[in-house]
């Protein structure tokens, strides 16, 4: 067993950390305040090849794999979780379905520009009536000649407004339940494809979340991913990978909480000494550091399993659950350690708290993760 990152992974970590610290951290509070999507940062990330990390060289990637990518998500999110989710959603739920299930032509057409960061990708699964129960999709796709005609509404979709391409799930065989769901590659410029104004969110305010409304969206027949009826199975696999991303994102937020809380506790003097000298504060920091470290182990292990081509459903779910609950706990404790200052927008920890809360909701709530783990246990 070897816990050392490869030289390339260490270099990637260092590069992304430096980039995030210098380019992103200084503007993160402003982005949140103005709910501004940092297009310029996305372009810089593209130039650093960050969107290429998980993909093989044949499809415009660098072939570094999931662990290197998870490390990048962690470091970006440590500075700005909004940018973290833009990045994570683009790669692991937007592009991955095409990378995993696309034909050679589909991959050349879509994965290559996504890996180069020339376009952003979105994944439209959730609907007003189908959230945790994503198999309850109402959106429909009907084959008319050489076109699929899609109608329906997707809600809470990350990158919806910015995306050049969206992977959308829809019912193709009504009455067959989850076996009647298929996934489609939908260019967002297709007539009939609209997005709502962006949601006004609690956190991740600099990320782009909107509703997708599809009215008679006609796409070529070959834009189906895999075969009709495979959509449900496909997105279960996509979400396995997505959970590693959300785990990595959570880890970045939790680490940021620890960094901020530790610095502050060492500097803040009350009763004549730094509050870091009080055992009550020390225990919070010790617990936080431990949970961050264990989250990292869990996330990296799940990513490593994926890179080895081994099963990782259970580990990804555990990593996501543990890291996301760690992020929320760490953010709450960080606010507590900052006291009244922590409640103020002048300090970053209230943002961490607002951002962290999505982690226990998105890509399967904590309740759903426990269901997945229990299912994996054979319950």
């Amino acid at each position: 067993m070897d816990f050392t990152l490869s030289e390339a992974q260490q270099l990637i970590k260092q590069t992304v950390r430096e980039f995030a610290r210098k380019e992103l951290a200084p503007i993160a509070a402003g982005l949140d305040r103005e709910a501004r999507f940092p297009q310029e940062i996305i372009e810089k990330m593209a130039r650093l090849d960050l969107f290429a990390l998980p993909y093989s060289e044949a499809y415009g990637g660098t072939g570094d794999g999931c662990l290197a990518y998870a490390i990048a998500v962690e470091e970006i999110s440590r500075a700005c979780a909004s940018t973290g989710i833009t990045y994570a959603a683009h790669c692991s739920i937007g592009t991955d379905p095409i990378y995993l299930f696309g034909t050679e032509a589909q991959k050349q057409r879509w994965v290559v520009p996504c890996a180069r960061g020339e376009i952003l990708a979105a994944f439209g699964l959730t609907e007003p009536e189908a959230g945790s129960d994503a198999g309850g999709t109402r959106t429909t796709a009907v084959l008319e000649g050489d076109r699929w005609v899609i109608n329906g509404v997707k809600c809470f979709i990350t990158n919806a407004t910015r995306a050049g391409v969206a992977v959308i799930t829809a019912v193709t065989e009504p009455g067959r339940g989850t076996a009647g769901i298929s996934a489609f590659i939908v260019p967002t410029a297709t007539p009939g494809f609209r997005v709502s104004p962006p949601y006004d969110k609690l956190g991740l305010r600099a990320s782009d979340t909107a509703e997708i409304i599809m009215e008679d969206v006609r796409i070529p027949a070959e834009n189906i991913l895999g075969k009709p009826g495979e959509g449900f199975k496909q997105f279960m696999r996509v979400l396995d990978g997505g959970r590693i991303s959300i785990g990595a994102l959570s880890l970045g937020i939790a680490q940021a909480c620890l960094d901020a809380a530790l610095d502050y506790a060492r500097e803040r003097i009350q009763f004549g000494r730094p509050i870091s000298k009080f055992q009550a504060i020390q225990f919070k920091l010790a617990d936080m550091a431990m949970a961050v470290e264990l989250s990292r182990l869990a996330v990296y292990k799940a990513a490593w399993l994926k890179d080895q081509g081994l099963p990782f459903t259970r580990e990804a779910s555990m990593a996501k659950l543990f890291a996301s609950e760690t992020a929320v706990r760490a953010a709450l404790d960080a606010v507590q350690i900052f006291g009244g200052y922590g409640y103020m927008k002048e300090y970053p920890v209230e943002r961490y708290l607002r951002d962290a809360k999505l982690m226990v909701i998105g890509e399967g709530t904590s309740e759903i993760q426990r269901l997945v783990i229990a299912r994996e246990l054979g319950c």
Partner: protein, 263 residues
């Protein structure tokens, strides 16, 4: 242009508190991250900028432990072409004159060169001597504290930063050594593809014997400096509490300020 860039692996004091090791002769590296010396990072960028503008190649030279290879690979990822890492326990690493001898041997071993860049100062021992001593060893001209470089044919124009914001412009014949000041450029981030390519670039490891350097000429015995002790000075804070009625206090305070030359 054949350029060498010399870089040093130093403790990153921004991330953790510095502690001295048990022997008292070095920094405790167990809880510490090490990375490229700040000024050297700018030297790497400058060497790559020169290569991009004028063609040629850049070789990285560093004396350091195995762990420093990550730092060297980073320089390769940013565009340097190959590297030599020198590791030999016998080198008196605290003595810039001897370090310069070793670096010079590595550079001479690489054949002809046009330019050698170093950082102007190492963040750990702050001697500001290695680059200049290296020029002496190589028998070439140098410019120190360089804030801007213009490479011309057969010579280089170096803008040196002097005290009080003064700039001195010198023209030196190549080959030459320049010690680079921070802020001369904006060091790039290594693109991931560069990191990939860096894995394939040559990183040679050499000891004194490989370089043809007589150990007796560069070891502790050859050094005129003995590192006695490294320690963190105790922080002493002296506060004088002034007692008395407000007028008395004010008079005492004023007297202290006048005596201290503060008013």
């Amino acid at each position: 242009m054949k350029t060498f860039v010399c870089i040093k692996y130093v403790p990153d004091t921004s991330e953790a508190e510095v502690k001295v090791n048990a022997a008292g002769d070095g920094v405790d590296s167990s809880r510490f991250s090490f990375d490229i010396n700040d000024a050297d990072n700018y030297a790497v960028e400058e060497s790559v900028l020169i290569k991009e503008a004028r063609g040629g190649s850049v070789t990285v030279v560093s004396i350091g432990p195995k762990e420093s290879e990550v730092m060297i690979r980073m320089a390769l990822a940013k565009g340097c072409d190959d590297a030599i890492r020198i590791e030999d326990r016998r080198i008196a690493a605290h003595d810039p004159l001897l370090v310069a001898k070793v670096l010079a041997a590595a550079i001479r071993g690489g054949g002809e060169f046009d330019l050698v860049l170093t950082g102007c100062m190492a963040a750990d021992d702050g001697q500001m001597a290695t680059g200049v001593a290296l020029a002496e060893e190589l028998g070439v001209a140098h410019a120190a504290m360089v804030k801007k470089v213009e490479v011309l044919d057969g010579k280089v124009k170096a803008y040196r930063e002097l005290e009080g914001g003064l700039m001195e412009v010198v023209e030196i014949k190549l080959p030459a050594v320049l010690t680079i000041q921070t802020g001369i450029n904006e060091p790039r981030y290594a693109p991931i593809r560069g990191i990939r390519e860096a894995q394939k670039k040559e990183l040679r490891v050499a000891g004194l014997d490989d370089l043809g350097v007589d150990a007796g000429a560069v070891d502790a015995g050859a050094s005129g400096i003995v590192l006695e002790k490294l320690y963190i000075p105790e922080v002493v804070s002296k506060a004088e509490v002034i007692e008395g009625e407000p007028e008395e206090k004010a008079a005492k305070l004023a007297a202290i300020l006048v005596k201290g030359g503060l008013v």
